[in-house]
C-alpha cells in the first residue's frame, strides 16, 4: 500500500470537511465504545485478564526465538511448512511462489492487515494471480480500489449509498434494475458471488490472530465465516503472520481471546475462532493438502527489547482507534497507511522509516483514553511522546516547532526570566480577552483559535501565582 502519511495535515483537513465521512465516524463513535463498555460490565475479571495477557505477551517476546522455533517444529510435525521472511518483499516472493507452484489463478483471502502492510494483492495481480477479498468490508474496498480505514471494520467510512453504487457499477452481469436498497440484499449479492470464488479458488490466504507454540496451531478469528471457507476449501492454505503474534500455549491464547472481541466489537467472543494445525489428515474428508505459514519480521525485531517493545504486545483489537478523539474526527485514511489511530501513530513511523510519517505522533491529544482501553496495557501516550522526542533529537520536524521548543527550553532553565515572561503573557492574554474570559483570535495562534476559543488566564495571573495564593 502506497503511503500518504507524509501529507497527514492535508489529509486531516480534507477528512474533517467531508460530510459523508463525518456521518460514518458519528456511527462509529456511537457504536463501538458503548458495546465494549457493555461487554466489560459483564466481565468483572477484565483487569485481571488484561494483566495476565500483558505478562503472557512480555514473556513470549523475551523468549521469542525459542517460541518461534518451537512453533516451527510443531507445524512441521503436523505436516505443514514454515517460511521465514525478513521483509515484505521476501514474504511477497514466498507467497507468489507457493501460488505459482499450485498453478493458482484465483486465491481467496481472509482479512489480513499484514497482507495490506506488504502490499500482497498488488504483487499477486501483477504476476497473473487474481486475489479475491472475502471479508465483506474488504470485498467492497477491493471493488472500490480503496485501502481499509479501520483495522477491524475496514469499510467503516462508507455509506450504504456508496456501496450500492459500486455494486451496480462492478457487478455488470446482474440485472441493472435489481433492488439493492436493503443492506440484506447487498450482503446476499456478495455472498452469492463470493461463494463461487470460495468453491473454485486454488489457494486460500489468511492472516493469523495468534500463533501457538505448544501445538503449531494458527488461530484465525472472524465473524462472517469467510476465514474458515478460505482455510478449508482450497487445496493450499497460506498463513501470513508477523512474528509477535506468537503465544506459548492454548490457555495463553484463550486468555487473549477473552479480551480481543470484547475490546474490538463488544462481543464476548467472535463467532468463529479456528485453531488450524497442519494440512488435511489422511482420514479427513476436507481441508487443504498444503499448509504454509509465512513468518514476517519487517522491522519487528528492531522494536524488540527497545523503547517501543510494548507496541509488540498489540493484538489489533482497534479499541484505541474507537476511543481516540483524533481518529473519531478524521477517520483512518488521513493517517495515510495501513495502521491508523494511536497504535498506527506509534507503529507507522517505525515501519515506514524516518521522515516518512513524522506528523503522526502529533495526531494525539495525549488524553490517555487509548491506554485506558488497551487490553494489553500498551502505554500509547508515552510511546507517542517518545516518538516526538526521537523526531526532535534526530533534527526533524517543522522549523517553527523546533524553534519554539528550543526557546521554551532556554527560558525554562532560567526561572526568573520564565516567571517574568509568563507573568507578562498572562496579563497580555487577559487584556486580549477583554474581560470575557476567552479569546477568539490570537496572533500566531490561528491554528487554535481558528476552530475554538482560547481560554484566558483568570485575573491575568499565572498558574504558579494562583497556586501560591491558595487558588484565591
Amino acid at each position: 500500500m502506497r503511503s500518504t502519511a507524509k501529507s497527514f495535515k492535508i489529509n486531516s483537513r480534507r477528512a474533517i470537511a467531508d460530510p459523508k465521512l463525518q456521518d460514518a465516524l458519528g456511527r462509529l463513535s456511537a457504536g463501538f465504545p458503548a458495546r465494549r463498555a457493555a461487554a466489560l460490565d459483564r466481565l468483572p475479571e477484565f483487569d485481571e485478564l488484561r494483566e495476565k495477557a500483558r505478562r503472557i505477551k512480555d514473556h513470549t517476546l523475551e523468549n521469542l526465538d525459542f517460541y518461534l522455533e518451537r512453533f516451527e517444529a510443531k507445524v512441521r510435525e503436523a505436516g505443514g511448512r514454515v517460511h521465514w521472511a525478513g521483509d515484505g518483499a521476501a514474504a511477497r516472493e514466498i507467497i507468489l511462489d507457493i501460488c505459482l507452484a499450485a498453478g493458482a489463478r484465483t486465491v481467496t483471502k481472509g482479512k489480513s492487515m499484514i497482507a495490506e502492510e506488504i502490499a500482497l494483492n498488488e504483487h499477486l495481480q501483477r504476476n497473473g494471480v487474481r486475489p479475491v477479498e472475502t471479508d465483506l468490508g474488504e470485498y467492497i474496498l477491493q471493488l472500490m480500489d480503496e485501502p481499509p480505514s479501520h483495522i477491524i471494520a475496514p469499510a467503516i467510512h462508507l455509506s450504504k449509498a456508496q456501496i450500492i453504487e459500486v455494486f451496480r457499477q462492478k457487478h455488470k452481469n446482474l440485472d441493472p434494475a435489481r433492488p439493492l436498497d436493503e443492506p440484506r440484499r447487498i450482503l446476499d449479492e456478495a455472498r452469492t458471488l463470493l461463494r463461487r470464488d470460495f468453491l473454485t479458488a486454488d489457494v486460500g490466504i489468511t492472516g493469523a490472530n495468534l500463533l501457538i507454540a505448544e501445538t503449531g496451531s494458527v488461530c484465525v478469528v472472524t465473524n462472517e465465516g469467510n476465514g474458515d471457507l478460505t482455510m478449508t476449501l482450497p487445496r493450499v492454505h497460506v498463513v501470513i503472520a508477523s512474528i509477535e503474534k506468537t503465544v506459548p500455549t492454548l490457555e495463553d491464547a484463550t486468555t487473549i481471546l477473552r479480551l480481543l472481541a470484547r475490546s474490538a466489537t463488544g462481543q464476548d467472543m467472535s463467532v468463529y475462532t479456528t485453531f488450524a494445525t497442519g494440512p488435511k489428515r489422511s482420514p479427513d474428508s476436507d481441508g487443504p493438502e498444503e499448509f504454509h505459514v509465512v513468518l514476517l519480521d519487517n522491522h519487528r525485531t528492531e522494536m524488540l527489547g527497545g523503547p517501543y517493545n510494548a507496541m509488540l504486545r498489540c493484538i489489533r483489537c482497534a479499541a484505541c482507534l474507537n476511543h481516540c478523539p483524533v481518529y473519531k474526527a478524521i477517520g483512518g485514511h488521513a493517517y495515510g497507511w495501513v495502521y491508523p489511530g494511536p497504535m498506527g501513530a506509534v507503529l507507522t513511523p517505525h515501519l515506514l522509516g524516518p521522515g516518512r510519517a513524522d506528523d503522526l505522533p502529533d495526531a494525539s491529544t495525549l488524553c490517555g483514553k487509548c491506554v485506558e482501553v488497551c487490553p494489553v496495557a500498551i502505554p500509547l501516550p508515552d510511546l507517542l511522546r517518545r516518538r516526538r522526542k526521537d523526531r526532535f533529537e534526530a533534527g526533524r520536524g517543522s522549523r517553527i516547532g523546533r524553534f519554539a521548543i528550543k526557546t521554551w527550553v532556554m527560558a525554562a532553565r532560567m526561572p526568573v526570566l520564565y516567571r517574568m515572561l509568563t507573568g507578562l503573557a498572562a496579563v497580555l492574554l487577559r487584556y486580549l480577552s477583554g474581560g470575557r474570559g476567552y479569546i477568539s483570535r490570537l496572533p500566531l495562534g490561528g491554528g487554535w483559535t481558528g476552530v475554538r476559543d482560547f481560554p484566558a488566564p483568570q485575573q491575568g495571573r499565572t498558574f504558579m501565582k494562583q497556586l501560591k495564593s491558595g487558588g484565591k
Binding site: 475479571e45 510435525e77 463470493l194 482420514p283 476436507d286
Partner: protein, 231 residues
C-alpha cells in the same frame, strides 16, 4: 530460506541482548509448555454443575443461536423436523458421518430427507456433533475429523449441532483439557485435530453502516440440540 531464518533469529537475540538460550532455560520453557497454567477463568465460566445447561443456553441465545433441549437421541429426527418446519425450511438434512449420529433412528421421521455428508455447496441444512459446549459464552467446540468435516460448519444456510449435555463444560480451558486426553488428533504426538473451531452464534457482519446482519458467509441460523441423556 535457512539464511533468512538464521538472520531473523539472530536479530531477535541481538535485540534482546543475549545469545541462544541456555539448555537449562530452554528446558524450563519446554516444561512450561507441557503443563500450561490454569488461566484466569471468569466466574461466569465456573457455574455450579446444576446450572451448566442453563448458563450455556442463556449465553447461546444471547448471540442469536436457538436452543432446544431433548431427553434422548431418539428424539433428534423429530426435533429437527419440527425446527425446519417452524422456520419454513425444506426438509433436507446433510448429516456428519459421526458414529453417534449414525446410530440415530433417522427412519423414524419419514418426512425428513436425511443423507450423510461430507458437505456440498448446495446443502440447505447440515447437522454435526459438537466435541464440547462452553457455558461461559454459549460456544460450541467443533473438532474436525472423519466424523466432523470442517466445511459442514460453514456451507449450509442452516447449521444444526447436536450437543450432549455431558459434553458441556464451564470454560474453554475445560474443553482444552478434555481434548488433550482425547485421540482427536489422529496423528502421532498431536492431540489437536486439523481444525478446532469455536462457534459462538450464527455468522454475521456489520460492514454495511454498522448494521448487524446474520448469515454473512457462514450459516444464517445456528440451532443447538442439547441431548440430556447418554453421551
Amino acid at each position: 530460506m535457512t539464511a533468512a531464518r538464521e538472520q531473523m533469529l539472530e536479530k531477535i537475540r541481538a535485540s534482546l541482548g543475549r545469545g541462544r538460550l541456555t539448555v537449562e532455560r530452554a528446558a524450563e520453557l519446554e516444561a512450561g509448555l507441557s503443563r500450561p497454567g490454569p488461566g484466569t477463568v471468569p466466574a461466569r465460566g465456573r457455574p455450579a454443575a446444576k446450572d451448566l445447561i442453563d448458563t450455556f443456553r442463556k449465553e447461546a441465545e444471547r448471540v442469536d443461536a436457538t436452543v432446544d433441549v431433548i431427553e434422548n437421541m431418539t428424539e433428534i429426527p423429530s426435533a429437527i423436523k419440527s425446527f425446519l418446519d417452524s422456520n419454513e425450511l425444506p426438509p433436507f438434512l446433510k448429516i456428519a458421518p459421526e458414529p453417534r449420529l449414525q446410530a440415530v433412528p433417522w427412519s423414524k421421521e419419514p418426512g425428513l430427507e436425511a443423507a450423510f455428508g461430507p458437505a456440498q455447496a448446495e446443502d440447505s441444512a447440515a447437522l454435526g456433533r459438537a466435541f464440547a459446549g462452553v457455558a461461559e459464552t454459549g460456544t460450541l467446540v467443533m473438532a474436525s475429523g472423519p466424523g466432523s468435516p470442517q466445511a459442514m460448519n460453514f456451507l449450509a444456510e442452516t447449521h444444526i449441532v447436536a450437543l450432549w449435555a455431558g459434553d458441556i463444560a464451564g470454560a474453554y480451558e475445560d474443553a482444552w483439557a478434555r481434548l488433550r486426553k482425547s485421540d482427536k488428533g489422529g496423528i502421532g504426538g498431536q492431540f489437536m485435530p486439523r481444525a478446532v473451531t469455536w462457534i459462538t452464534g450464527p455468522s454475521r457482519t456489520a460492514d454495511i453502516e454498522q448494521k448487524l446482519l446474520l448469515g454473512a458467509h457462514g450459516p444464517r441460523r445456528l440451532h443447538i440440540l442439547i441431548i440430556l441423556s447418554g453421551r
